[in-house]
């Protein structure tokens, strides 16, 4: 991928967003009639946890118990509590039921109109906000100062850095200012703040990238066995060491990585037979280089968070 293509792709990933329509759960609403929904166009790569203060302020006049804290806020979609540290795009790709987009060369003109129809059916994404009965067993409880969300983010950034460099020294060497700037960039969704720090992390001095931060999310329907009683929306999260190159001449592709991590779901390195890898709402071509994807399309914490979807 040319430098230009990488930066264009980086921009479109940064600008990707979804319309959300968030309604108050009936059990928390003081009026018999439903209150007005909170409507927002929200970045795919950002975290819903950053919305709790706005949601709390917006709905507090409609609440049965108006003195709840912002940290009591939680969101669900069709009964599934939405994890705060999963970016919105990942949650949507996992739970909305929307059909992912295919590479343009395989789509006929009829598919184009289908996808518009598909969007109309699923958007805005309709979520429910709750202020009571916090699902402690399923969701990390946030605090009113965003420290917990920051901590979750920082741990994820550190882990990605450790994989890339093999030492985690880059994050350690990020100055206090850089580290603060990174979190500010996330909170304000500001590319000008984000990009310089991200470039430092992606290009550690004197080190080639060793492993690539890739995490796979399998809805339980897509995994090969059901060992335990699964709660709604529960996932199997799979992580494994993904070396940047298979040999000096063969870079790691999505196909080679999936085939080595989940051979039963991805028996072939070249063609998807049973399942597909979905990132930012699009089916990943198995031939795509993982390193190029990391550089152009990683989430804010440096990871490729990939939803594995069974083929119908």
């Amino acid at each position: 991928m040319s430098r230009d293509a990488t930066s264009r792709l980086r921009q479109s990933v940064w600008n990707g967003s979804l319309p959300l329509e968030i309604r108050l759960h009936k059990g928390d609403c003081r009026t018999y009639n439903e209150s007005d929904p909170y409507i927002i166009q929200f970045p795919r790569i950002s975290y819903l946890g950053l919305l709790i203060h706005k949601l709390h302020a917006f709905f507090s006049s409609s609440l049965i118990y108006p003195d709840v804290a912002a940290s009591d806020t939680w969101l669900s979609y069709e009964g599934v509590p939405l994890k705060w540290h999963y970016p919105l795009g990942l949650l949507y790709d996992l739970y909305s039921g929307a059909e992912p987009a295919y590479p343009p060369d395989t789509s006929s003109p009829s598919q184009k109109s289908e996808s518009t129809e598909e969007e109309r059916r699923h958007l805005p994404w309709r979520l429910t906000v709750h202020f009571s009965d916090y699902p402690n067993e399923q969701l990390v409880k946030l605090d009113n100062e965003d420290n917990i969300l920051h901590d979750l983010f920082k741990n994820s950034v550190k882990e990605a850095d450790y994989l890339r460099t093999g030492t985690g020294k880059t994050v350690m060497f990020l100055s206090k200012e850089d580290s603060t700037q990174l979190w500010e960039a996330v909170k304000q969704h500001d590319f000008a703040l984000y990009n310089p720090i991200n470039q430092k992390l992606l290009n550690p001095q004197g080190v080639n990238l060793r492993h690539l931060p890739v995490r796979l999310y399998l809805p339980h329907a897509a995994s090969d066995s059901l060992k335990e009683e699964a709660s709604p929306g529960s996932l199997r999260v799979v992580q494994s060491l993904v070396p940047t190159n298979l040999s000096s001449r063969q870079p790691q592709t999505i196909g080679t990585a999936l085939n080595s991590i989940l051979p039963t779901l991805f028996p072939s390195r070249r063609s998807a037979l049973l399942a597909q890898a979905v990132l930012h709402g699009a089916v990943l071509p198995l031939s795509a280089s993982v390193e190029e994807l990391i550089r152009a399309t990683a989430y804010l914490d440096g990871w490729l968070h990939i939803a594995v979807v069974m083929m119908g």
């Binding site: 940290s71 409880k141 420290n147 901590d151 920082k154 741990n155 882990e159 060992k227 494994s240 060491l241």
Partner: protein, 213 residues
């Protein structure tokens, strides 16, 4: 010599877990601290799970001014019932080898039929961390060296000790000695477990001494 020291290779981790399981099989009945130790298989992941009873003494009913617990009224009602009828809460210590850091990572949660101990910072400091470790653990990371994350197997929120310093801690504890996989795990529990109440029961450590007698 361990091939990946101060990290731990997957095969060495398995060996260490099996050795500790063997110790427990032979000497577990001589102690009461650990209720169980077992290997849990979750798809391709294998981890060690140790349980012990949540000490009663640590359980302090919450102040009435702590108003962020919705179910508090219920709790107080149940406090009236004789203590012996309250089911015992259990601490789960899960030791998982991190694929990233290649060191064992400790995940801690409390199983309680009455759900009195959700994975929140309040539970951590009131029920899990022994008093004399509090100041030490509070001053690392954004909010402390122990925070909440999703368990790698169950994907449910649990406490964990941040693993990015572990290799350094192990290196400092072991020094120039040559350690076996099992010794690595014992040193690891010794260094990291204490601050959340996980200690190797003496009966398991004394095993060899007893055998010599």
């Amino acid at each position: 010599m361990l091939s990946s020291f101060p990290r731990l290779a997957a095969s060495d981790f398995d060996e260490a877990c099996n050795s500790l399981l063997g110790r427990y099989r032979r000497a577990g009945q001589k102690q009461e601290e650990w209720l169980s130790i077992e290997t849990v298989y979750h798809y391709d992941m294998t981890y060690l799970s140790i349980t012990k009873a949540l000490p009663d003494a640590v359980y302090i009913p919450k102040d009435s001014n702590d108003d962020d617990e919705v179910d508090e009224v219920e709790e107080d009602d149940e406090e009236v019932i004789a203590k012996s009828s309250v089911p015992q809460a259990i601490i789960n210590y899960d030791i998982v080898l991190s694929p990233t850091y290649q060191v064992p990572v400790l995940y801690i949660s409390i199983s309680d039929p009455q759900h009195r101990f959700p994975p929140t910072m309040a539970t951590l400091y009131e029920h899990l961390i022994p008093l004399h470790f509090k100041t030490q653990t509070e001053h690392a990371g954004v909010i402390g060296g122990i925070t909440v994350t999703d368990h790698p197997a169950t994907n449910r929120p649990v406490f964990f000790i941040h693993p990015c310093q572990t290799a350094g801690v192990i290196e400092a504890s072991v020094g120039a000695r040559d350690v076996t996989a099992e010794e690595y795990l014992m040193v690891w529990i010794g260094a990291l477990g204490k601050c959340v109440g996980l200690n190797i029961p003496l009966a398991l450590v004394r095993e060899e001494e007893d055998d010599l007698v």
